[in-house]
Symmetry: C2
Subunit: 320 residues, 2 copies
């Protein structure tokens, strides 16, 4: 039985796992995503995380059948490159991640879109078991998504699922992608952090950055947001309220077009906030649903924090 590796490369953290043929996690490890040093520094951390996960599974990277990586940015699976990963340090030009990491690990490496592999994991092992058609919304540093229709991930011409760049407010806030009014401009953790900085500079009081420093973080992680909300931080509440409202509008729009039976909420913030926020997002979507008396089921991603890495490991099967 050959084990497989899976790595979820996020804007904040790297999650690595080693699984068996039934996608059972035998070992895992987590590292912070480097905020400097560019693609080489990130690749080194990916190798270290996967090495630790393999060790925890009683194996080693070179003995694996392969390693899948779910990555942000523009993936070219054939070339094995990643470009324009805005949430990773100095990562604009295409970088040969597959070849570089394969050399460090001693096994082959397959790349996929970070969110699409997480949605694919839900399709195979999570929510998709009961819902053949669903919209996956990954609420994290950015907002990603995936569309599953009749049991198949719909890719269109290769890039379907970008719900983060659905326009929720014409002429609205600037998005990290450079456009205006995108859902991600209101609900992405990266955009929310910029808004929090700006509000603090404009004189709003907030404990967000104090909590960040106390947690030893350099960014407003999901945990920092959660702590600020628990402490009743007004700015954090108002930014999260806006995010939930934008998520409701964007999701409502897509449900009106696709009429899927379920919406699955994952991602760093989605997993951290869990069920109560899934319900809040469902309530925010309700006023926008054209068929109001038959809303889709709103569900938290079932595979939790490790879903992205489990989905990445599924890439190895696909390419075997």
């Amino acid at each position: 039985m050959a084990l497989r590796g899976g790595i979820d490369l996020g804007g904040t953290k790297i999650e690595a796992i080693v699984v068996d043929d039934w996608s059972t996690v035998l070992g895992s490890a987590r590292r912070a995503t480097p905020t400097e040093g560019g693609p080489p520094a990130v690749t080194k951390e990916l190798a270290a995380a996967l090495g630790a996960a393999a060790a925890a599974a009683g194996s080693e990277p070179g003995a694996l059948a392969g390693v899948g990586v779910g990555s942000p940015g523009q993936i070219d699976p054939g070339q094995g490159t990643v470009a324009n990963a805005g949430n990773l340090p100095d990562w604009s030009d295409p970088f040969p991640l597959a070849a570089t990491l394969a050399e460090q690990l001693g096994t082959r490496v397959v790349l996929g879109n970070d969110v699409r592999v997480a949605v694919e994991a839900e399709r195979v092992l999570g929510a998709g078991v009961r819902h053949p058609s669903f919209l996956g919304v990954w609420w994290g540093t950015g907002i990603g998504g995936g569309v599953v229709l009749d049991g198949k991930l719909w890719l269109g011409r290769g890039s379907a699922g970008e719900i983060g760049h659905v326009v929720v407010k014409l002429g609205g806030a600037r998005c990290p992608c450079g456009r205006r009014g995108c859902l991600e401009a209101y609900a992405g953790r990266g955009a929310m952090e910029r808004r929090a900085h700006k509000a603090e500079n404009d004189g709003d009081k907030t404990k967000l950055f104090e909590i960040m420093e106390k947690h030893g973080r350099t960014r407003l992680t999901s945990g920092v947001w959660a702590t600020a909300l628990e402490r009743g931080d007004k700015l954090a509440q108002s930014l999260i309220d806006e995010a939930v409202e934008a998520l409701g509008a964007g999701i409502g729009s897509v449900v009106n077009v696709l009429d899927v039976g379920a919406v699955v909420i994952g991602g760093g913030l989605g997993s951290r906030f869990g069920e109560p926020y899934v319900e809040r997002i469902a309530a925010a979507a309700a006023p926008h649903l054209f068929v109001a008396d038959r809303p889709p089921a709103f569900l938290p991603a079932e595979l939790g924090d490790q879903g992205g890495a489990i989905g990445a490991a599924l890439l190895v099967d696909d390419r075997a």
Copy 2:
């Protein structure tokens, strides 16, 4: 060879045709949609229009294999009822349109959603021949749509395609559907007429209503808008500019989620304005496209004014 009838029931006009097995139009007739008298008055005009089309084809309604009707509102094809047709007079409760019309025509009647049958006609006989996956956007009294994926109309749980109720502006203008910020609130002909009335009442100068009266109309039809634009009417221009901007945002959003290869623009205003406006809508969508260097093809509906009626006639095949 049995002929088939098709009727497109619009908010402004009724288009009836009679076709052969190859969907060639052998006879056609057009009537204004009654603005009062409720479902019975509308049904009577449907029967009269179809009768005239059958006569033009050298046949009569009772000799047809059946008649398909593309209707606005909530269709129950099994029950043969239409409810909540907001753009038709006094038509809220379910009305047994199929049975009532069948009795008047002497042949069976099949109902379908007005826009979805028009998109289906494009799939079979128009743009779909070259584009297996496309988004149909029907720009008329309301904004309807249809999603064709891999050569099949995607219906979801039965109501997919409602691109008119994609949210383009959170907290924005009130839509005829009662919600806020929908695409239709900015680009639907019905909503634009309300906005024009309000602007005139608020003191804006416009020739729209003068032109309407001179044309012997009681509504701002596509022709009235076209004439006002030709005459350089400032209010008409500004409302149409807003409509185009909203269409660009709504279409851009859906393309980001589905990554289809084409967008087909039809409907009363879409057909009337044609190619130049299809290009304007493409330009308005461009800034919102996540994959900016590979936009979908933007195409006018190929079947023109009669597409809806041709698609309605296709319903008869489906149910034979």
